[in-house]
Structures are given as C-alpha cells and as structure tokens.
Amino acid sequence: MSVVQDPFSLSGKRVLVTGASSGIGRQIAITCSQMGAQVVISGRNPERLQATAAALHGEGHIAITADLSQQEGIDQLVAVSDTLHGVVHAAGISKLVPFRLINKQHLTDIFDSNTFAPMLLTRGLLAKKRIAQNGSILFISALSSHSGALATSAYAASKSALLGAMRSLALEIAKQGMRVNCIAPGYVHTPMLDGLGQGGGNMDALFDLTPLGMGEPEDVAYASVFYLADASRWITRNYFILDGGLSTPMDIYA
C-alpha cells in the first residue's frame, strides 16, 4: 500500500530561509519546521538567529550567520546548503528616504540587500546544483512594488525588480521542474515596520487603510508554505498579493 503524502506538508523537504533572525523570515522558518521541513536559516544577527533556531520544531536544522550583501556570505551559505527543496528569500531592509535625498549609497544599500543578494544567492545555489528537481523558490517582494508609498522609491524599485527577475528565471528553470514565485505582502506587523514608524513615518494612518487590518507574519508564512508545498506544483512565474485588501481600493495615499 502506498502512503499518499499530504500535498500541503513539507515533511521530507529541506528549506532555506534567509532573513530568519526576525519578522517575516523568522515566522516562515518556524512555520516551515512545524509543517515538517528541515530548515536552513540565515540572518545577520547571531543572537536573534539563535533565538529563531531555538523556536524551531523538530531536529536537524542548521543556522548560519551570514551577511548576504557580501559575496562571502552568499558563498558560505551555498557551501553549507545540502540539496534544497525550497528557498525563501525573506531577508530585506527598508528605509524611508524622500526622492530628493536619495543618493548612490542609499540605492546601493537597498538594492544590495533586497535585490542583488537574493538573485546572487539563487545563482550560487543553481550553479552548485543545490536546488532539487521540482524545488520551489520564493522571493518575498512587497506590495510597494505596485503601490510606491511616499519616500520609498529605492525600496519599491528594489522589490519591483524581483518581479522581473522572477519571471525570467522561471522560464529558465522550468525544464528542470523548478518553480519560482513572488509573494507581495502589504503591511505586516514586523520589527522592520516598527523601525519605519520610529523613523518618523506616520504609519498608523496607512495601517488603517487595510480593509482586514494589518497582517501578521503568520499570514505570510502560511502563504509561503502553500508556495513551497507540492499543493502549488503547477504555480510558477506568479506573484501573489497578500495584503488584507489594501490594494483593492488603492488610491494614491496607499
């Protein structure tokens, strides 16, 4: 008698999650472990990464402190990753900077972390054949890729870039059965968003615009599980808006 695996389970899968030291990445790692995955987590802050590691369910997980804006960090992560069935690029940074104050350094910082790191890490993993046939790659983009809130030009551009990169990559890897998709979350309770509020942004007014209220990291984690699991095996080159309805009536203030 054959045992049919639940298509929503991640049991038997190894999943790499970047940005796992806080916020969305942290919750994705925890939820993936709850769904049966063995996870490889990475983040820049060793203490917080260890805290995530301690919250994981099950055994056999690996935690690697790495700065993915540096090639060494990427190489290190590729080196320790065994065959992966899923990769979630959740690492990212954000900073409110009005357009007239942006400069090369700001653009470089944002793109290094949000765009180049996930692209180069994916390249590194593919070059070393670290991603299994039928593996699923997921970029955490942002609703900003569509909406472009005030003072987020660099961030919005860096997240939009992921959509284009994802679509081209998906065609290149489809013949190996690999999939790649983007999730574009709206406003989710995370330390990154708290940081923006402390940076002087009047965020509460924005949060009130979301019809279902603000999201929780769990919401992004549940969607990620769906996109990593075999349940979504026919979905690729897709971006999924996960925003509690924020973009539905979207006007210029969103």
Binding site: F8, D219, I235, L242, G245
Partner: protein, 230 residues
C-alpha cells in the same frame, strides 16, 4: 457550498474538500450526476440540492437550504468558443446568465439571508481568460473579467465581517472535455512551461483559499497556469 458540483472542477473540488473535513452543500443542474458526486463525498452530513442557478426561484431555494456557511465556491460555468464577429445576442445572454448573473445573484441571496459566517471565504472560479485576451473567447473572457470587478467591490463591502472574497484563475486543465481536441491540447501544453495542470492542482489552490491559512487574502486572484501567463 460548491456550485457546479455535478462535473469537472466543481465535482473534484467538492470531493477534495470533503476529504479535508468540510461538510458540504453541493449543487448542480443534473440530478443523477450530482448524486454521483454526492456518493463520493467522504464523511457525513453533506447535502445535495439540484438547482438551475440561472433561475431566481431556484437560487432562493438553494439559499434557504444554507446557513452559517464558512465557504462558498462558485464553479458552475460554461465555455463557448465564438469569435465576436459571429456573436449572437442569444449566446451572449446565455454566457451572462450562467457565468456572471448566477454566481453574483446567488452570493447576493446568501448575504441577504446572513447565510455566510463571519470570516467566511467566497471564491469565484475565474480563468486566465479573465486576465488575458484569447481569440474566440470574448464572451467567456468578459464574464470572468466582470467577476473580478465584483470580487474587488465585494471584498471591501464584506471586510468588516472579515468575509474574504477572491478568485482562482487556472489556465488549461486536462479534463475529459478536451478529449475531442487532442491537437489543441498538445498546442496548449507546449505553451505552458510546466505543462498542463490537473484537477488536483486547482483543488489544492481552492483548499488554500478556503482555509484559515489565507485569512488575510482578499480582493485578489490566485493565478495557476504552469507559468504560461504574465
């Protein structure tokens, strides 16, 4: 509640939902085929209601048989190939009644009767044809696009009750409907980077959209297409 449950996607979704533990109200026009679906539902307490949803009285009857729904999946629909140059008012009216008016007014009846529970999930079966142009599919495409408008507005109207409203947009699924069009099916397969989808793929997407795992998803559409559509 799953409409169009007497065949195809609706039937498969109903069967998979029951396997996942849902208690179902299934509806369809064909009594004996609906019975076939009913007989395949796992678990107990399911209800079947034979109804033609293009008829107001039958929608009202169906709405009365439901209460406290946690999910509603509109699968009933027809597809007809017709270049717009050859379109007749009769064909357009039929497409409108089956693919647009029936799901919209059934939703209206259920909401009016408070038959949909807080945090319920309403899912409209769309198609990639709702998002892209396809030669000869104008009437079908228009009705599916029209439903996107309903989805967005209804999502906002029902957000205060945490009821979510979304679409699911599959492209070509290899169903028995295609058996007589093998050549077309081969062409379709070639334009899908991951090949064609299965009934299970769409059912799994619907399971995600109906479950609490997607409690923060509203006003949008889950596109499933093997990478074929931008």
């Amino acid at each position: 509640m799953v409409t169009g449950a007497s065949s195809g996607l609706g039937q498969h979704i109903a069967i998979r939902f029951a396997q996942r533990g849902a208690r179902l109200i299934i509806t369809g026009r064909d009594k004996s085929r609906l019975q076939t679906t009913y007989d395949q539902l796992k678990g107990e307490g399911h209800v079947q209601v034979t109804a033609n949803l293009t008829i107001a009285e039958e929608r009202t009857f169906l709405a009365k048989s439901a209460s406290n729904l946690n999910g509603l999946v509109h699968c009933a629909g027809i597809q007809k190939h017709c270049p717009i140059r050859q379109l007749s008012e009769q064909l357009m009216t039929e497409m409108y009644q089956v693919n647009f008016l029936a799901p919209v007014m059934l939703t209206q009846s259920l909401l009016q009767a408070n038959a949909i529970a807080q945090q319920g999930s309403i899912l409209f079966m769309l198609s990639t044809a709702a998002h892209i142009g396809t030669r000869g599919l104008g009437p079908y495409s228009a009705m599916k696009s029209g439903l996107i408008g309903i989805i967005k507005c209804l999502a906002l109207e029902q957000a205060k009750r945490k009821i979510r409203v979304n679409g699911i947009s599959p492209s070509v699924i290899a169903t028995p409907m295609w058996d007589v069009h093998q050549e077309l099916l081969t062409q379709q397969k070639a334009r899908h980077p991951l090949g064609l989808g299965t009934l299970d793929d769409v059912a799994n997407g619907a399971i995600y959209m109906l479950s609490d795992a997607s409690r923060w998803v509203t006003g949008t559409s889950l596109v499933m297409d093997g990478g074929a559509v931008i």
